[in-house]
């Protein structure tokens, strides 16, 4: 009898610990998936009061979940985003905005998980097929009313990447331009001049290498900067036929067009001429940028979002004050004018289709895009160009680098649109960003490269 008692007690103890274990497990899961559950809970709480779907009655507490790809909340674009959030919460004391921020790759992975189990209310997105095609097909984003934004001064064509079948699913945040940042002091000291043509650029590479400096710091380890470089070259070769040639290539899964072949060969020529640093194809963003900001490289090929280098106090003063830019020099026989530049509207924001507080989410989105918010603050913080007209916010105290960038954009006669790696399905993106390393370093031939990327979008 005694033994039986003991055994029953043991069994009960086991069960209790097990249940306790399960219980804490649930708690942990809820915590880690906090994004959706907390958002839903908050949403359920207020639906009763906000049935009008637009704003909420006074005093009703609302929690908005913002999922962002800007983890650095104290600098650059992340600071701009956080400033607007703080202002919105001051103006709307009943609204609490919870931010979850991850860097790009982790963001995209978690975005996918959220799309299956409930999306936060406002999310960062990219208005490019490689990202948005699948997302729109999965019906996780709310349709926005395009007419609401006629007064928001969006740059012409900047909403195209976010529009599917005439329906608008998101708003662009930036206008990105691909540029060569260069160290003007280094150029002057050595008597180097800004290359007029692509051949000049390659010749300049020899001169720079001769004094033991890396000509261009390239983030080749990630693949996409190489793909942007390739798109830049292709745009120089074909000018405004760029979009047609790229879309034809995708339609036929055939990239063997002579213009594309030529662009790939020009990229390979650059690598062969040692334009990029030794081992560029395995070095990441930070390493490449450090080469430039430490004065070990004369140039750095990157997007205009790095304009804030000019105000970054971590960079030695004699370097950050001498950073200037030029765009891809003309290719011999190319159709693009020198004012035709590789630029596109990439990142932006959207609202979740299943948000319980969609009305408030859209209200917040519109608040962010009021021209004197994202656009103005972005300009003041030197985080590059917004997708809205920023002409009104020039203060005269901009850095030389900022002025140069805005001049380039203002003087531009035509913009390329989305880089080639983001024009197709994500399988294509993954393939080209890996294969482009091999073709530039000579491991695969140009023809093989073109057939590999062609196969990947079948």
């Amino acid at each position: 009898m005694k033994r039986k008692m003991v055994s029953v007690m043991l069994a009960t103890a086991m069960l209790v610990t097990m249940l306790a274990g399960c219980g804490s497990g649930d708690g942990g899961a809820a915590g880690s998936a906090g994004g959706s559950t907390a958002g839903d809970a908050a949403g359920n709480g207020d639906t009763s009061g906000s049935t009008d779907g637009n704003g909420v009655s006074d005093g009703e507490q609302i929690t908005l979940k913002l999922f962002s790809n800007l983890p650095d909340r104290k600098n650059g674009q992340g600071l701009v985003e956080q400033t607007i959030i703080d202002e919105y919460m001051v103006e709307n004391p009943n609204v609490t905005i919870e931010v979850e921020a991850l860097d790009e790759e982790a963001y995209k992975t978690k975005f996918k998980a959220y799309s299956m189990y409930g999306m936060p209310d406002v999310v960062s997105i990219w208005g490019q097929p490689a990202f948005l095609d699948e997302v729109v097909a999965a019906n996780v984003l709310a349709e926005l009313n395009a007419e609401d934004y006629t007064d928001y001064k969006f740059v012409e064509g900047s909403l195209d990447g976010f529009t599917y079948d005439g329906k608008l699913y998101g708003l662009p945040r930036n206008t990105d331009i691909a540029v060569f940042y260069y160290n003007q002091k280094m150029f002057d000291d050595n008597g180097w001049t800004i290359p007029e043509t692509y051949d000049d650029l390659l010749a300049l590479a020899d001169e720079i290498n001769a004094v033991g400096i890396t000509p261009v710091a390239m983030d080749g380890g990630d693949g996409w900067p190489l793909a942007v470089y390739l798109s830049d070259l292709l745009y120089q070769i074909v000018g405004n036929d760029y979009a047609d040639i790229v879309s034809d290539a995708f339609a036929d899964s055939d990239f063997s067009a002579p213009e594309i072949t030529e662009a790939v060969e020009l990229l390979k020529q650059a690598a062969d001429a040692k334009l990029f640093q030794n081992g560029y194809d395995s070095q990441d963003y930070g390493t490449a940028m450090n080469l430039f900001t430490n004065g070990q490289a004369a140039m750095f090929y990157m997007g205009s979002w790095e304009t804030s280098m000019a105000t970054n106090e971590d960079i030695p003063e004699d370097i950050r004050e001498n950073i200037r830019v030029f765009t891809m020099p003309a290719v011999e026989g190319g159709k693009a004018a020198s004012t035709d530049i590789a630029a596109w509207n990439g990142g932006g924001y959207a609202v979740s289709a299943n948000s319980e507080v969609q009305g408030e989410a859209v209200k917040f989105l519109n608040y962010m895009y009021q021209p004197d918010k994202l656009s103005k603050y972005g300009w003041e913080n030197g985080v590059g160009l917004s997708a809205q007209d920023q002409g009104d916010y020039l203060t005269g105290s901009e850095t030389e680098l900022q002025k140069q960038i805005i001049d380039i954009l203002n003087a531009s006669t035509s913009l390329s649109g989305t880089p080639i790696n983001d024009c197709g399905p994500s399988t294509f993106k993954a393939t080209i960003e890996s294969a482009i390393q091999n073709v530039s370093n000579g491991t695969t031939t140009v023809d093989d490269f073109l057939s590999i990327i062609g196969t990947s979008c079948q």
Binding site: R3, K4, V6, S7, V8, L10, A11, M14, L15, M18, G21, E105, K108, T109, K112, S115, M116, E134, V135, A137, A138, N139, V140, T214, G220, G221, G223, Q277, N278, G279, D281, S282, Q283, T287, L291, Q296, P425, S426, T427, K429, A430, T431, S434, A435, Q437, N438, N441, T443, T444
Partner: protein, 307 residues
């Protein structure tokens, strides 16, 4: 107490947590993987069943071939380089005695204590062609010091060295513990019989360490096949796909290329390979006597069946 353990209720309550954990954390995900492996699921939205399409693609996928080859290369590296070295080091350490023994045991184990992220970045800087330690050392010795260690032809070797170095301490520690468990009387007897160090190592240490070696090698091979974190942080499979490993490729396909179904198909093939390798290794390590015994049993069972 004995009776307590024969009580079914107690047995159930003791076994249940383990069984539940196995079912929900291992078995169910595997079943889901098999299911998604037959779909064209992108990870979002709807999907369709496409039968063996993913598997057919897998067998013609060159990158998967490279990834698998690299994983196997790493396994071979572990077996042929890391483990013999670890075993010898453990034996030498055992003979060292005193403070030196403790000191070196700690030193060799340090890489295992440091986070993988730190290890990866450490080696990234060591290998950097522009300002890396390795090239600077070469320069100091009069070399050119401009070697690109992550060149697409040599990158895999650079990565293998890091992985072999990183896992070395772990293997060594297990061997060391194994050696410490060998009865010193055996060594004394051998010494009296006039055996030297090498003979005692070959005739006493090695045969007695067999079970330890078996466990260690099996674990090493599986960890080679599963390799992901270091490679992901060090090269992410690049340049091109020259340092691609199976687990990293699976991740890239499932979460970056939006081919969740395909990623799951890779996962399924991966599980099959891991199981096959484990079974294979067990066969290799099976004692000849054991094998004979099993054979005899089978024959006897057959004979019984006939009669």
């Amino acid at each position: 107490m004995k009776k307590l353990y024969s009580n079914k209720l107690v047995i159930l309550s003791l076994v249940l947590p383990g069984v539940l954990l196995f079912v929900f954390a291992i078995l169910a995900p595997i079943c889901l993987s098999v299911y998604y492996g037959f779909t064209d699921y992108s990870g979002m939205g709807s999907y369709q069943m496409i039968g063996f399409e993913n598997y057919r693609n897998l067998f013609t996928d060159k990158t998967f071939g490279i990834a698998l080859r690299n994983s196997l290369l790493l396994a071979v590296g572990f077996i042929c380089i890391q483990h013999p070295l670890a075993l010898i080091t453990a034996a030498v350490l055992d003979k060292l005695g005193g403070r030196g023994e403790n000191f070196f045991r700690c030193v060799y184990f340090i890489p295992n204590v440091i986070s993988v992220a730190v290890i990866a970045y450490l080696w990234k800087f060591i290998y950097n062609p522009d300002f890396g330690l390795l090239n600077n050392i070469l320069k100091a010795f009069g070399g050119r010091g401009d070697t690109n260690w992550f060149d697409s032809k040599t990158a895999i070797w650079a990565v293998l060295i890091v992985l072999i170095w990183h896992g070395f301490g772990w293997g060594m520690l297990i061997y060391y513990t194994g050696i410490k468990n060998i009865d010193p009387v055996l060594y004394e007897a051998a010494t009296i019989d006039g055996a030297n160090q090498i003979t005692t190592f070959l005739k006493i240490t090695l045969p007695l360490m067999k079970p330890v070696i078996q466990v260690n090698v099996t674990m090493a091979v599986i960890s080679a096949l599963k390799q992901m974190e270091t490679v992901y942080l060090l090269t992410n499979g690049g340049p091109g796909n020259s340092t691609q490993f199976t687990a990293n490729y699976l991740y890239q396909q499932a979460f970056k290329a939006f081919r969740y179904g395909y990623g799951n198909a890779i996962g399924v093939v991966f599980i099959i390979i891991c199981l096959a390798v484990t079974v294979g290794l067990n066969k290799v390590f099976e004692e000849p006597e054991e094998r004979k015994l099993k054979k005899r049993k089978r024959i006897r069972a057959k004979a019984k069946g006939v009669s």
